[in-house]
């Protein structure tokens, strides 16, 4: 599974084409029109938006890029996107590997948002859905390899809810347990603390855009 981090997903050429020329031309026409013509940020990769962010296209339309959410964030987790974000230039986002969202109980970023791009009806951190964590490289996960790591689990603010440990016998040693961290999508808020904490050089657990619910039965 390829997960592009937002900071690396753009060439100089595309930057010039999409990032500067077109948005400049359309800036006056307003964000809502530009979304019709341009690829949204999440089409290239995935932008981890602050808690309560609307669905990406509606978010882009609603966000006035005022930066108040970033100002309100006590952990400096929220940063304003640069030109690499294309149409998303100036919108708030979180780079979990650098500074994840620490889920302030009173959600100051949501409260600070004047435009409704961050949904004010959100008041409980457990209902935040910024994305969902997934283990993208099981081969590289030290816990799955039998080592006693599980840093993502112990650091998870929804420990035992969003991440649990599923122990199983380690066939290789015959006397130890593999303590596998398992993510529960219905509980994961996508704060990115696990991605930040992962001890591997390239995190094996990352936050991705929450996929639509997939049922066990096939329906059409």
């Amino acid at each position: 599974m390829a997960i592009e981090t937002p900071t690396t997903g753009i060439t100089r050429r595309r930057f010039l084409k999409n990032g500067v020329a077109v948005p400049l031309a359309l800036a006056l026409a307003g964000g809502s029109i530009s979304t019709l013509f341009l690829r949204r940020a999440d089409a290239r990769g995935f932008y981890l938006r602050p808690p309560g962010a609307l669905e990406e296209s509606r978010f882009l339309a609603a966000c006035v890029k005022c930066g108040k959410c970033a100002q309100a964030c006590p952990n400096n987790s929220i940063r304003m996107a640069g030109a690499e974000a294309g149409i998303g230039i100036g919108t708030p986002h979180i780079i979990a590997r650098e500074t994840p969202c620490y889920l302030c109980p009173d959600l100051p970023c949501v409260k600070a948002c004047p435009s409704g791009a961050l949904d004010k009806t959100l008041t409980e951190v457990e209902k935040v859905r910024m994305g969902t964590a997934v283990i993208v490289d099981r081969e590289a996960c030290l816990s799955i390899r039998g080592l006693r790591c599980e840093v993502c689990y112990r650091e998870c603010p929804l420990i035992d809810k969003a991440i649990t440990i599923e122990p199983r016998h380690n066939e290789r040693t015959g006397t130890h347990t593999i303590m596998e961290p398992v993510i529960h999508r219905d509980k994961c808020v996508g704060c990115g603390i696990c991605e930040h904490a992962c001890v591997r050089e390239k995190p094996v657990i990352v936050v991705i855009k929450s996929p639509p619910e997939q049922k066990d039965s096939y329906e059409f």
Binding site: C104, G146, V151, H169, V199
Partner: protein, 772 residues
């Protein structure tokens, strides 16, 4: 790196006796690994992990004089190739940017680089001056359970046999002393009868004040695997805080701090009342004793205590237990009486193999020695001891708390192999082996650790040398002892590898070789002695603790006590004479070079998995079954002790309404001087947080991640509150880990200690919390 290619090749050739395939018959590297090693230019050597008392084996990959890789040793019986996340990053701990590489001498507020000669001359001059003016008891050495066996041996020999002072202590006093007293008073000999095999072989595990999931990660993985393979296995976790261990246990029993004393007596009460005990075992192997009561807390300087054991009968012991009904214990502890009865029956269930496991919740306790005794009582009443899969097992926290501090005896009252300075025969034997006059070894212990730092504060001790530990972060009531060390007329020498909260108190800092930058031997919690070779040179001018001590001995005029060409090897052969024929037999040096550790007593090349039992322990003859052969005074029987419940030194009140407990986390070790230099571990767990019960927080208007000021009568610190972290404090309790050098939580801890062991209670004192 100053090591030349030639030196490196020489060192590693000598070092890795097993590096070439098939070089050793005992435990060679697998040929496959050796091939891989030769093609990648790496040379692999074996070593025990640098961190906790588990003693996992690791393979250390060396290239161009630098450690470039480590991995779990698949041949190591303890861990079979696994590590915890600290062990995984071992290769990084020696290469922090601020590694100390030159001796430093204090000039006012600055530490100035100096040569070894200048530094060692200054130390010798200061120590000599102090001894001349104030006597040998004005100088002290404070070491650690991370000292190698040779380091500790040299320190004890030099200070006790050379300088003539019993001012030799180690940080193991802060973590294992109560366990030692427990073993000595109950069995007459230190260290467990069982071993880690019990984790695979038992079916019932009762944990007392131990967060194995985080503090003994690989052993916990082994314990849980036993349950995965055997559905009968039951794990019960007694604790004052819901931990990752509680989460995975079958049953979590929360109890009020200090009430373990009442609970264990109530368990014994039920066993006796319901006649669940093993009368045959008791008749054959047990005597009963009681000691002093209302024994105090050592809060005042120069506190003295001596127990006064009196024999009692089984009937008298039953009368002693009478008041400890489950209902009484329930009132003290908050544990339902029904649960207490159930646990007692579980301990006594004849179809179950029961192990008790414990760590610092029991030892760091103002009645820690008593709690150790009380756990043994339950095993002795039920006869569940010394057999595979059913043993009380005290776990340790440092790689050589057992091997060095406890076996060599780097404590004020001790000599090697269970001997004590107060016994003239023991002094005689030590003096003979050391080649000194027996009168040189003082016949009275001087100061145990807390009293030693008090003596430094008062000025009774003027010069202190600290090696391999960080007391000015890890001592309780830290403010007093930090200030004491900087008083006029004190001279502090610190041997360490990084700047830390102790080096900042130093007058001389000595850059030190660590782990595989020197040769050494360590002993883990299951009596397993490991050997490791020097695989790389220390950066800069770093020297081993041992080399520093021998150099110092020469400058002090005791060079003749250390006439060694290969000190590590010759010291081992000399040290081994202490345990020979004493049930503490150790193998010749070469055996350890080959083996992945051996569990003592090692007799005729054979290690011992279970002590005191026929068929396993060579000291128990055929037909004897079980024999506690080290307890000569009680006719080779173990002792059941009548130890009452007594309250702790400080109890929460209106002004300070919370209990404070301190402890560890998986990502960091001790005061994080090593793990704090590993970026990945630092990022995973950057700072100490204050765990609190959500309802307590709500009542005080505190939200998750708020900053709070936590204060005791002794100090205060600002911390971030964590309401949904890895540990869940019970109502009225707080938990703060002690690894964070920017948050000196030990300033808040009380320096009350167990009068029998001198071990301070880091697990309970009264504090208050307010929004910062």
């Amino acid at each position: 790196m100053t090591v030349s290619r030639r030196d490196f090749l020489k060192a590693s050739a000598a070092a890795a006796a097993f590096a070439a395939a098939g070089a050793s018959a005992l435990n060679p590297l697998r040929p496959k690994d050796a091939d891989a090693a030769s093609t990648s230019g790496l040379t692999w050597g074996k070593a025990p992990c640098r961190f906790c008392g588990t003693g996992c084996g690791v393979l250390v990959g060396v290239k161009d004089g630098k450690i470039v890789a480590t991995k779990g040793d698949p041949q190591a019986p303890v861990n079979k190739g696994l590590n915890c996340i600290k062990g995984y990053f071992l290769s990084k701990i020696l290469y922090g940017k601020d590694r100390l590489t030159k001796p430093l001498i204090r000039k006012g507020n600055r530490m100035v680089e100096a040569s070894w000669d200048e530094a060692m001359n200054l130390i010798a001059a200061k120590f000599k001056e102090s001894i001349a003016k104030h006597g040998p008891n004005s100088v002290a050495i404070y070491g650690s359970g991370q000292w190698t066996i040779a380091d500790g041996y040299a320190a004890a020999k030099l200070f006790k046999g050379g300088i003539g002072t019993n001012n030799v202590e180690a940080n193991a006093r802060l973590c294992m002393a109560s366990a030692v007293v427990g073993f000595m008073t109950t069995f007459g000999s230190d260290e467990p009868m069982g071993c880690y095999d019990d984790l695979d072989l038992g079916d019932t595990y009762i944990l007392w004040g131990a967060n194995m999931a985080e503090c003994h990660p690989v052993l916990f993985s082994r314990l849980i695997d036993n349950r995965l393979r055997n559905p009968k296995v039951k794990i019960v976790d007694f604790g004052t805080r819901f931990t990752r261990t509680s989460q995975m246990a079958n049953q979590y029993v929360k109890f009020a701090p200090q009430s373990d004393l009442a609970l264990l007596n109530a368990i014994a009460h039920v066993i006796v009342k319901e006649k669940l005990y093993d009368q045959g075992f008791i008749n054959k192997h047990v005597v009963f004793k009681k000691g002093k009561e209302k024994i105090g807390y050592g809060l005042e300087d120069k506190f003295k205590f001596a127990d006064d054991p009196k024999p009692m009968t089984f009937e008298e012991y039953q009368a002693f237990l009478k008041p400890y009904t489950p209902e009484y214990a329930s009132k003290v502890s908050g544990v339902p009486a029904k649960t207490i009865v159930e646990i007692a029956r579980l301990y006594a269930d004849k179809s179950r193999k029961v192990c008790s496991l414990w760590t610092m919740g029991v030892n760091e306790h103002s009645r820690g020695s008593w709690v150790n005794n009380l756990i043994y009582n339950v095993h002795l009443l039920t006869g569940k001891i010394c057999r595979p899969g059913e043993n009380p097992m005290s776990l340790t926290g440092q790689p050589s708390a057992c091997g060095t501090a406890r076996e060599v005896g780097t404590f004020t009252h001790r000599l090697p192999a269970d001997m004590v300075v107060t016994n003239p025969e023991h002094r005689e034997k030590a003096a003979r082996i050391w080649g000194v006059d027996p009168h040189k070894i003082p016949d009275k212990p001087s100061y145990h650790t807390v009293e030693m730092f008090r003596a430094l504060d008062r000025g009774d001790i003027r010069c202190m040398w600290i090696q391999c530990t960080n007391p000015f972060q890890s001592m309780p009531n830290l403010n007093r002892y930090r200030k004491g060390a900087r008083k006029e007329g004190r001279f502090i020498v610190v041997s360490d590898i990084y700047p830390n909260r102790t080096t900042e108190q130093a007058d001389v800092i000595l850059p030190t070789a660590s782990w595989v930058e020197k040769e050494g031997m360590w002993g883990n919690a299951e009596r397993r002695t490991h050997h490791f070779h020097k695989l790389v040179n220390a950066p800069g001018e770093g020297r081993s603790d041992l080399a520093q001590l021998i150099d110092f001995a020469h400058r002090m005029g005791y060079g003749h006590l250390f006439p060694y060409k290969h000190p590590e090897k010759e010291i081992w052969e000399e040290y081994r004479k202490f345990g020979e024929g004493q049930g503490k037999d150790l193998a010749p040096y070469e055996s350890y070079v080959k083996a992945r550790g051996l569990r003592w007593p090692v007799v005729n090349g054979k290690e011992t998995r279970w002590r005191y039992v026929e068929g396993h322990d060579p000291y128990v003859k055929a037909g004897e079954g079980i024999k506690f052969y080290k307890n000569k005074a009680t006719n080779y029987k173990a002792v059941i002790w009548a130890r009452p419940y007594e309250p702790p030194a400080e109890i929460p009140d209106k002004q300070y309404p919370f209990w404070l407990c301190t402890g560890r986390v998986l990502e960091h070790w001790h005061t994080a001087t090593m793990t704090g230099r590993v970026m990945e571990l630092k990022r995973a767990n950057p700072n100490a947080v204050c765990e609190m019960h959500p309802e307590d927080a709500k009542r005080l208007g505190i939200k998750n991640r708020d900053k709070v000021r936590v204060s005791s009568r002794r100090g205060s610190v600002v911390l971030t509150v964590d309401l949904n972290g890895r540990g869940k404090s019970e109502r009225g309790n707080l938990f703060v880990p002690f690894f964070d050098e920017t948050k000196l939580i030990n300033e808040l801890c009380i320096d009350a200690y167990c009068p029998l062991s001198g071990e301070p209670d880091f697990k309970k004192c009264a504090v208050r919390v307010e929004k910062a």
